[in-house]
Symmetry: none
């Protein structure tokens, strides 16, 4: 376990107003745990004077401070200036940063306004961290800049699409160097779908606790659990075997790949194609599949058949079946999956039909009812489940289950 004291400082009035969820703390916490590092504190402060005060506080008690936000072009973006004041160093214009800024605007055919010039300012003695996804470069002030007590400070952009790549490319290597190699343990992440964190607690925790030198962490999201094993290679392998003896069927990946990536990867490896027929998930399954680069070689047709008419017209669900069993039924799910497969000429067809709510439920089929069909070379299977959740969580959970059914079908058939 490292002794390096790391603190996160999120800046931005909007975070305190609650109009933007502060997901940075959670995300960075997870990333640091993967390195065997820990966050000691996280703080959110509004734009303005509080940034200066909190920079003073945090740099005086920690070894590393990770700051997000306040690097924009406007007058309330004062993080750079505040850090210069706290560390007692001057600011200069960075030529490379200025060049990148100009290129950013040229590429997009947009004029660079005067306010952006400020984003090319650096602290004397600090590193500029390139930002390939936005205008605000990051800044790294190494410990020597921090006077006494010495503290390393990272200034990072607020938007996740800018922050995440910069964190991986620029922050992690520097943190590793600061922490020293020997402080960093190995980490293995196993991703599971279709099983709950409490199942692991009930069936596995006591046994994992007996493995000396193994640290265990869980991260649970809707319908999925990541298990992190931290320690030497030998104890990680011991923990892994214990885990898979019980939960192998739910294992999605051991290399960080998410469910949709694994599905696209397996389809590609097997040379098979997939089509989707979605009612209640409304295109979410197709969208998740097409989030994966290379999806075009295994996914050609997606049907969002939100109405009964569309189900019949596009993928040949029979009107009789719709009348006899209703749109949310295993019978309709079966015809949807087969219809998608037949119409598109794909090897597999997956279908989802359900009641997302908040309205539309009945005593027989309450909100949260969802039916799935998976059609393939060996016929079609259907499932009926209940996921009484908010509309968006319901869609997410149903899409998760649909993708997992594809994963399982590929595994069973090959």
């Amino acid at each position: 376990m490292t002794a390096m004291r790391i603190e996160i400082l999120n800046t931005g009035t909007e975070l305190l107003l609650g109009s933007t969820a502060n997901t940075h703390g959670t995300w960075m916490g997870q990333e640091l745990v993967k390195l065997g590092l820990r966050v000691q504190r996280q703080m959110t402060v509004p734009d303005g004077q509080a940034i200066l005060d909190s920079l003073r506080e945090t740099t005086s008690r920690s070894d590393v401070v990770l700051v997000t936000g306040g690097l924009g072009p406007t007058s309330d973006d004062i993080t750079r200036e505040a850090l210069a004041e706290v560390l007692g160093v001057e600011m200069i214009e960075d030529e490379a940063a200025l060049r990148s800024l100009r290129e950013f605007f040229e590429k997009r055919n947009k004029p660079m306004v005067r306010a952006n010039l400020k984003q090319a300012q650096n602290l004397v003695g600090a590193d500029i961290l390139p930002n390939n996804n936005g205008t605000a470069p990051g800044i790294y002030a190494p410990p020597r800049l921090g006077g006494d007590p010495k503290c390393a400070v990272f200034l990072l952009p607020g938007p996740p699409r800018e922050l995440y790549p910069m964190f991986h490319d620029e922050v992690i290597p520097r943190l590793k160097a600061l922490a020293g190699v020997d402080e960093i343990d190995n980490v293995r992440e196993l991703k599971f779908v279709g099983v709950g964190e409490s199942d692991f607690h009930d069936q596995l925790d006591d046994e994992l606790a007996k493995i000396e030198g193994l640290e265990v962490g869980y991260c649970a999201r809707l319908g999925e659990v990541d298990l992190r094993l931290i320690g030497s290679d030998a104890v990680i392998e011991q923990g892994r075997e214990l885990t898979l003896a019980k939960f192998d069927e739910f294992l999605v990946s051991e290399d960080g790949a998410n469910l949709e990536t694994v599905v696209v990867r397996e389809l590609t490896r097997l040379g098979k194609t997939l089509s989707t027929a979605e009612s209640c998930t409304g295109g979410l399954v197709a969208s998740r599949i097409t989030d994966v680069s290379g999806a075009s070689s295994v996914f050609t047709h997606g049907f969002v058949t939100y109405s009964n008419e569309a189900k019949s017209q596009l993928i040949g669900v029979s009107g009789d079946t719709l009348v006899a069993h209703g749109a949310v039924s295993q019978e309709v799910a079966s015809e949807m999956a087969e219809g998608a497969r037949r119409t598109s000429g794909s090897d597999y067809g997956i279908s989802i039909t359900g009641i997302a709510g908040p309205s539309g439920g009945t005593a027989d089929k309450p909100v949260g009812t969802v039916c799935f069909g998976i059609a393939g070379p060996n016929g079609v299977k259907t499932f009926r489940e209940m996921h009484p959740r908010s509309r968006r969580d319901f869609k997410q959970q149903a899409s998760q289950r649909a993708l997992d059914l594809v994963r399982r079908a590929l595994k069973a058939d090959h």
Copy 2:
């Protein structure tokens, strides 16, 4: 503008490890803004000594501290004891709290263990806040308990299903009394799409700054900006008029509704229907539309035509057009939009075809190229744009633009 300094202190090691997302800060921030109150700072600390330290810090600089977590029955639940130490008061067993605890366990037919007794402990002079959804009652220590400087402290349970009702029933009335009615301001949120935060800074900030008593805040996400106006009704209206004089065409809503909600609402109001034909967005536009409750009455058919074959087979894009202009072209976008409209019988059809990357770009059509078509009763319009971003951001930005094209078409036609 209120002068009451409110701070949030979230306790719990799991929050810093990132295994549980800290949603309390966001949620409370939103609830407080509704009252016209502001959070000055939010801090997350691990269980243990850090709770004591941070209680000392926060109570010495704020008027109100809202603490979550650490009220459970186990040995690392030390928030009560830490507050007693910081305020310098004794603890006593609260008879009513003990009775509630016993009832809680009786009702569930579970034994009450000795450790739970600790949850009936109160600080002398503080109020017990009943918890109808769990075992941990909250505690309210009024300002007079806090010595000098005086600070009011709320100790609240961590689980949202316990925290939220207690916050509404017990915390809000006390906060209102503490703040006094006249401190409470109004807030108006205007949502814009298709315009950048920097445009507001360039064209509006200086003028808004001249309105005395008006506070302005921005929150920018990919392709959208929220503008918050805070102050009296009169100054908010003044700021609103200034803003709309320049940015009216980009205004999506004034009631917090997001773009997809506005599109579904407008379609519903006008009694019109929409269909989607998506290539590079892969179902994301359909999924966003179906995130909105009530979408089924205006959205019936969605086509995810990821391959050329699907474009021809499902929505009748001509093979000649595909060969002559390529799949990513305004010509194909036009035929896709019209084909979706014709096939589904909808009033409007929106199409998106582009190169999400990272591969598939050419010199002529680099990664990030995207074409849109919007077909309606008055014909079809097409657009070609560049959004060179990561795959997921590209999809998000393209879906944003597609929904905005629908919004604009509805506005122009009616």
